[in-house]
């Protein structure tokens, strides 16, 4: 259990709903769910959810903190927004799912090996560094995130794709070195740093 996680358990005792309302993006909407399940039925990856959104809301109210935060489920969200537009109570479900995933990730209790979590991190690091996506770097890191051999294998599987992109000039072979990103990187880094400071303060992450 990470210190941060310990701290949160301390602060909120058994009131997981309150914790979610305070720390999770759009978390204060969770209480508005009436368990109709339209979100659960609308998700394109639905069958892959161990706990669909509406059930997660019920679990939050029931105080099932670990089951929720350690779940792979939220990481299945493809951001298709089907749930949002159909919810009769207008819950911003997509964002709540993102928020829960992010929260679990920040607490360091999100499933370590979850590919989406890891891809998301690589992606963000990638853009945070240069301000723009470097697709080659991104894909190479992605392929190798499970280790070198696995990476070669994935790389080979994906080779046709890569070559196709290359042939059609939609992938830059020299991107790793040549890709510049934005000009005023320093400025962006400063801003992001500040943004993290404020967010951590607000969400009680700050040590």
């Amino acid at each position: 259990m990470t210190d941060l996680n310990k701290a949160m358990v301390e602060t909120y005792r058994n009131d997981f709903l309150k914790e979610v309302e305070a720390n999770v993006e759009e978390g204060n909407w969770v209480k508005m769910c009436m368990q109709c399940g339209v979100c659960s039925g609308s998700c394109p990856f639905g069958p892959d959810w161990e706990h669909p959104p509406q059930e997660i809301f019920a679990m939050i109210r029931a105080g099932k903190r670990d089951e929720v935060l350690k779940s792979e489920s939220m990481w299945m969200c493809t951001s298709c927004y089907n749930c949002i537009v159909r919810c009769p109570r207008e819950l911003p479900i997509t964002h709540i799912m993102h928020g829960l995933a992010n929260y679990a990730h920040r607490l360091g209790i999100a499933p370590k090996m979850n590919p989406t979590r890891r891809f998301a991190k690589i992606f963000w690091d990638n853009i945070a560094k240069s301000g723009r996506v470097n697709e080659l770097e991104l894909s190479i890191r992605l392929y190798f995130m499970n280790g070198f051999m696995k990476g070669i294998k994935t790389g080979l599987e994906m080779l046709p794709v890569g070559l196709g992109m290359l042939k059609t000039k939609r992938l830059n072979p020299f991107g790793l070195f040549a890709h510049g990103g934005i000009k005023r990187k320093g400025e962006l880094h400063k801003m992001l740093k500040k943004a993290y400071e404020i967010e951590d303060k607000r969400k009680g992450f700050a040590k």
């Binding site: 394109p44 990856f45 493809t78 951001s79 920040r106 690091d125 939609r170």
Partner: protein, 300 residues
């Protein structure tokens, strides 16, 4: 002086030698014909995309977009912000909506923007290119420059998610939007009257992290297009375009299908219909070649 000017947010995938570079090429030709001027936002940065949430959280993600908006407001005053990428448009618009509804967020954002001597006002509407085409120009205007109607081409209008939900295009339904079909019809092509997977999710960013699950989605999207006899699929979104086009080989391997259907951008169709060359339409940028379009483009 062009008839319309916009503050343009191209987005990462549109860069030279990036996954949607051909989208960009065709958009430029299309806008030239329509006499629409796009003023790129100087030094714009990534929108964070929807997948940015895990590491980015809230504020940092919003800051990425707030920066772009602020620069746009400073450098391209009085112009609507226009994005061609669905994710860029959604990300930017979402940030704007969120800030308008939260004074606290507005304060935070501006405090942070100070670091770069920027200020967020949020006066510029954030719009997708198709909105510009449909709302500012209108189908009639779009029809006028058509030189080579795309007769005899059957097209599956694949709208996907993010241009459609949660904001969508004015007056269109989330479940059965028609604008893409109208657009292709305007170009003289035939739009499928039935296309069940029109708004099915392609897996988005999870095509990278959860390829197998995404393939199931993509397969549905392509299959339905085939079932209704489409010659090609058209989309307004780079992520959709990429996912639906480039993984066809993988899917064939996995499911023993024989998919080989071109996936185009509306702007490519329009460029060709407006008499542009294959090059101007970025047709050479497609892994699965749209021969029918190339033929028309080749015609004098």
């Amino acid at each position: 002086m062009a008839r319309k000017e916009y503050s343009f947010y191209p987005g990462c995938s549109s860069e030279r030698k990036a996954s949607a570079s051909n989208y960009m090429v065709s958009v430029e030709s299309m806008c030239k014909t329509l006499d629409v001027k796009l003023n790129e936002i100087p030094d714009w940065n990534c929108c964070g995309a929807s997948i940015g949430y895990a590491e980015g959280g809230e504020l940092p993600r919003h800051i990425m977009n707030a920066r772009n908006i602020a620069i746009s407001e400073k450098e391209n005053p009085g112009q609507d912000i226009v994005a061609t990428c669905a994710a860029c448009w959604l990300g930017t618009k979402e940030t704007q909506e969120r800030i308008t509804h939260s004074g606290e967020l507005l304060a935070d954002v501006n405090e942070i923007l100070k670091e770069a001597g920027l200020k967020y006002e949020g006066k510029q509407p954030v719009r997708h290119m198709v909105e510009v085409l449909i709302e500012d120009l209108g189908y009639d205007e779009l029809a006028k420059p058509v030189k080579k109607p795309l007769e005899g081409i059957k097209i599956a209008g694949y709208v996907g998610c993010q241009t459609n939900r949660p904001f969508g295009v004015l007056g269109e339904s989330f479940e059965n939007p028609k604008y893409l079909d109208k657009l292709t019809e305007t170009m003289g092509a035939t739009a499928l009257d039935k296309y069940e997977e029109k708004v099915t999710c392609c897996g988005g960013a999870l095509a990278f992290s959860e390829p197998d699950k995404s393939y199931v989605q993509i397969k549905k999207i392509i299959e339905s297009a085939y079932d209704h006899g489409a010659d090609m699929i058209v989309t307004p979104c780079p992520v959709c375009q990429m996912n639906v086009e480039v993984y066809q080989g993988q899917i064939n391997k996995k499911f023993g299908t024989k998919f080989n259907i071109p996936v185009m951008y509306y702007s490519q169709l329009m460029t060709v219909a407006y008499g542009g060359s294959a090059k101007e339409a970025g047709l050479d940028g497609n892994i699965i070649r749209a021969t029918k379009l190339e033929e028309i483009a080749a015609k004098k």
